[in-house]
Symmetry: D2
Subunit: 408 residues, 4 copies
């Protein structure tokens, strides 16, 4: 197999599935494996991954465990939130936005180690394979990408367990049976899908939710917080400046406690099928409402409407895995240009699953009480101008009306 | 004043302001006035308007009071909801969508009575003047539109009251002083703006809300309802078929009781300024979530993404008053075409201000458990196809990557 | 090979390549073959295809030769021209628009004959495979599509010729060697690509052009024609009513004689690579200029700008093979809606490769000399209205200007 | 008249109309007038404007005559051409793009002189008033703009001439009668409209064209030129580097000689009416074809299609006068981002009104002969990948097809 990879950087979680992949790569290709385990804020201990990798024969210098939370929020999550990006009207893209960063680090490590391939544990049915691979190919067109789930014949849980046992891969007790659903998590969100959730007619059971309380169990009293923005990015909560990841983590605490950010959703995957997911994005949901609130007073209609009209395309690009594409970067340039004055503070009410902007203020505000007031406006606005404005906007419609009357 | 109108159809609410306009039209132009009072579901008795109009000298045959609720919901609200239209990300367009219907009836009555003008009570600062007038001009290019607020010199509350008193116009006690804010209502929503609400930094006081309970005061138990759609329009609640207006009224009851549909918002008016409004759209907010839910399983990504990308423009057209424009009709043709299979039922959870779709099913569903399942899919989907799919999607990115590496 | 097709409908030109495919299908799968040969106006005798098919053992009742020119122009070309569709700014989509019709007939014949598969002669590098297959799958999700070029090992000219000789397939003398480039033709256009044209830096040699004279060799005198439209479709030339295909053929004569419609182009294929093509679209180029000309006076800015902004997406859908997709049909509904009043006549000047609209008139015209005139306009337009129009359009910009000055 | 301007900067051409405006400003408002005369490449001597201004009593230090050609092409024309901007499919925006620069200089001179107003000679029916005024208000929200044509009562040629005579304004002999049409010119184009051209059915007479020969009178031999681009802007012709204005002037020479760039057009004005114009844009038409040619090989489909889809909106913004708006700047950021690699050379054929790109090459090229070749491609592209690519693109369409078959 001359085409077989010689050295592979694997996105390694330390869990059973990627441990099997690790071993499979070694046995299938006889190749050297480098592991990359990222702390994206998924809330799990990562150091155990080191021991497992060593157990599976990975050399210490080939084991990489990194905390990338700040980079994740600063360079991926925040730029995306500048666009108020939601996929198909409701999904906050929590999984989609994490994949490019992982792929980037895989490729960088491959270059550093002289590896000719990267590998990931995403299946052949989902979006993540696309996101990993488009990102990897864009960053290094010569890289090979190994997606074992599309290749191997370990097509059932039984076969996987047999392979693990045959290869001395430790199996946690609760991993022996099938999980009732599949989970992905990072600092932005937790997603759950598959199996128990595959019937979109049935309400998702309570035990699926891991990161947010049921709104019914949230505090009976609303809580108010203030979020401050600079140039489109959140920089402080209740006046306290925070780094991007710290701030998002704090918003997650608020949101989780108040049951905010649950979404039960059926979406269109890039590969052509529909799937149903349960998403929990507590901090992100607050952040979106907050960002919209500050834009309300700092962004004019020309900028806002242009952004709004391009948001679906931008969100689709991220969802489909095109973060590292020139068109995403072009849209980002447009969006970032709009955020120059998006600075100020919003006040938010958090209550039983609901986040509501109830106040916003900014030195950059375009809101002019002088103009809008019902009171005397001291000449700020001449109501008679509206007559001409309407007349000329109507001229076209009148000409059409005359024409249509004439020819009918 | 040879240009003065001879016969005017006035949009007449029966309230103080439009009564003053009625009298002003009579005295300023010596013209005959026809009144039109529409029941759009604003929740007020309309018959008193008849007596007031008569008191002000309007001939009985010139007084028109009409219940247009079914037409309003069927021909305006529902077509708009097929698009999931929201203005600037959040506003459900409750006022905007009512104006074209009123303008249409004004023009029709003008033609019926041989009137040369219509008149409305919208001010020169707002959007409603534009919506009334663009609609009127589009439907009858030769009509005159009288907007007294842009013309007269009754520029303060004092002057208005003086004019009323001088003209024997009855003044309700609570209308003598200034209202703390201005209200518009119809079956879709209630909006409040102005005065007490003019500082967007300050939370709106509780007494502003008229149609929804405070979520804190909503029931402590969630309620579940099922909404059924046919070709994009809601036709039944909990299996009970209802006419459009009846159905929306029922959703308003559910929503109002559960504190659903409140929005505190700063928006960009078409005339160029920002304004702050408090909107209550209880039934509409439920309807939007329900419609999105049924589209999740019945609409494919091609249709859905195209609709999503055009929605902001469609919403802007309605907001700006271009309902009777060819471009709105073109977009409507596109949207309606997409709704052919948007039929089925969604299950919604209503709880303390939050409405969540928790289940959806349809004979028209495009969701294929056979394809998406984590289990064996019996050949429905060949994971190996994904390799080619990704390769060709990546080809462009690889060529770019090679080029960029080459020239840097 | 249980998956092997039993009965296949082949898109059969009668040429060497599709004859080889015919034989290959028979030998590879032992299946029955039905041939479909369409007259799309490519300008070749089709009856010889019957004799060749019979020679290769196809039963007479399995040989279908059809003249689909009217359907092609009426149901594919004309709807597309209503949109003024051009791909990547310049290409008139002559090949793209023919594929869906062929695929549709293949699928219909398969259903009629109880065939389980269709086959085509497009290669694995191009767009046509995508267009054929997406169309076929959309129209019959259970159909198999056989694309021999992606499957077989006849990967060189030598191997193809050997296969033909071994199977008694007649080889025209001029087909023995490699053609210097590849050609596709139909009533709308002729395209040439490959081999001699593969270097985009080099000017295409004169002998590539087959359907248009070199502009240098076109008549030294311009010729004028008038084209009449009804609801967006051309219906007459110089006052003479013609069927769609007859009219397009006549425009091709005019255009070909005057050297109109040549395009030397590098485009982006859907499969991710760039390719260079030489296109000749004589009649289509005239038709586009004519249609734009009649829209100039019959379409308002709202309709026109909306169409313009969606045209690139519409053209991309056709180019990529999504003719039979819901989103193309949604866009078509929008476009068709706009054409209700696009009726009238344009006058065109044809001269040495150039077609120019020099006059246009219509009962449906929205052009109002009364409004635009530099002379006294008798009150049609009040210039003072422009002041208010500009003031309110400027209000937002002023507020921005004030803000920016304030914070800098 | 407390609102009267005290000091006004006038856009002054030195011609009769703006001389009348100059005098009218002095007499109407008793204000000091500063004149600004710009060389935008309109091809007229500007120094005579100085003498005329002095004759009308303008102080020498208040007379500004500036050559802004390089700024015009570098900062306005070239950025616009990066977008391939055409309005309504055909108009190259030659007048539209010059107005913002003039307005900017007027405002800067007003600030420099402490003037409180600017004035222009555009009428109340056209687009130019909007472009001047939106630009001025955006750059200085406190500025007054005086548009005499919307204010005064000099509403006929006779009255204008009388005013001129009464005020000792010299009248050139040929200006005494009415011009048969109105002309605007700058380095990018010459436009003619009005009067003799007001019937869009009638071909424009030959004498209207001032800058291009009739294609019939152009050389009988084609001419070839090469244009080189760097980052989207033309920098050399036939290998000779040139400044922006010099290069555009040279292209104008080529185009004018070959009859290139004539357009007979009916367009939609922003103020709501249609108008007919004759445009001559010789160099710009060449530049557009050249820029498209170099983008063909240097821009990928993602970038190109995104640009294409936004171009109509960008062009509309420029046409409507919103050059100095945040949304134009946002789009510019997106467009400029796309031009990073748009460098290389195109070869163009110029012949009797036609400009055709016949070759293009670049170190930045994305064209890969290795991929596209009909020959053996040495593994650059695996045709089997196309099968998976098509399968997954078709999956959605198949699911739709199945659904539709099921429910019909």
């Amino acid at each position: 197999m001359s085409d077989a990879p010689k050295k592979v950087v694997l996105a390694y979680s330390g869990g059973l599935d990627t441990s099997i992949i690790l071993k499979w790569l070694q046995t299938e290709y006889g190749c050297e494996v480098i592991t990359f385990t990222a702390d994206l804020g998924q809330g799990e201990e990562l150091e155990p991954a080191r021991a497992k990798a060593e157990l599976l024969g990975i050399k210490p210098e080939n084991i990489h465990i990194e905390d990338v939370r700040e980079e994740f929020v600063r360079d991926y999550v925040f730029p995306m939130f500048r666009a108020n990006a939601v996929y198909e009207g409701q999904y906050l893209l929590g999984t989609s936005i994490a994949r490019p960063l992982i792929a980037k680090r895989l490729v960088e490590l491959a270059q550093q180690h002289g590896a000719d391939a990267v590998a990931h544990g995403a299946t052949g049915k989902g979006n993540d394979q696309v996101r990993f691979e488009l990102s990897a190919y864009a960053l290094d067109p010569s890289i090979k990408v190994i997606a074992p789930w599309r290749i191997w014949d370990l097509t059932s849980r039984t076969k996987l367990i047999e392979f693990a046992e045959a290869n001395q891969i430790p199996i946690a007790k609760d991993k022996r049976g099938e999980a009732p659903f599949s989970v992905d998590a990072n600092l932005l969100h937790t997603s759950s899908e598959g199996k128990a959730l595959e019937n979109p007619a049935e309400q998702a059971p309570d035990y699926v939710y891991q990161r947010t309380v049921n709104p019914e169990d949230a505090p009976d009293q609303p809580e108010y917080i203030e979020v401050t923005f600079e140039k489109g990015d959140a920089v402080a909560i209740n006046g306290q400046a925070m780094s991007p990841a710290t701030l998002l983590a704090a918003l997650n605490d608020y949101g989780g406690r108040h049951g905010i950010g649950r979404l039960d959703f059926v979406e269109n995957r890039f590969v052509g099928m529909k799937s149903r997911g349960i998403y929990e994005t507590p901090g992100g949901t607050i952040l979106l409402e907050a960002h919209r609130g500050i834009e309300q007073i700092t962004l004019d209609s020309g900028s806002g409407h242009l952004k709004d009209s391009l948001m679906p395309r931008y969100a689709e690009l991220i969802y489909n895995g095109f973060w590292f594409s020139p068109e995403r970067e072009m849209l980002q340039a447009l969006i970032d240009k709009s955020q120059e004055y998006v600075s100020g503070t919003v006040r938010l009410k958090l209550y039983k699953g609901l986040v509501t902007c109830v106040g916003r203020w900014s030195d950059m505000s375009l809101y002019s009480e002088a103009h809008v007031t019902f009171e005397e406006d001291a000449g700020a606005y001449d109501q008679k101008d509206a007559a001409g404005f309407i007349k000329l906007n109507a001229l076209r419609l009148k000409l059409i009306g005359n024409r249509n009357a004439r020819v009918k």
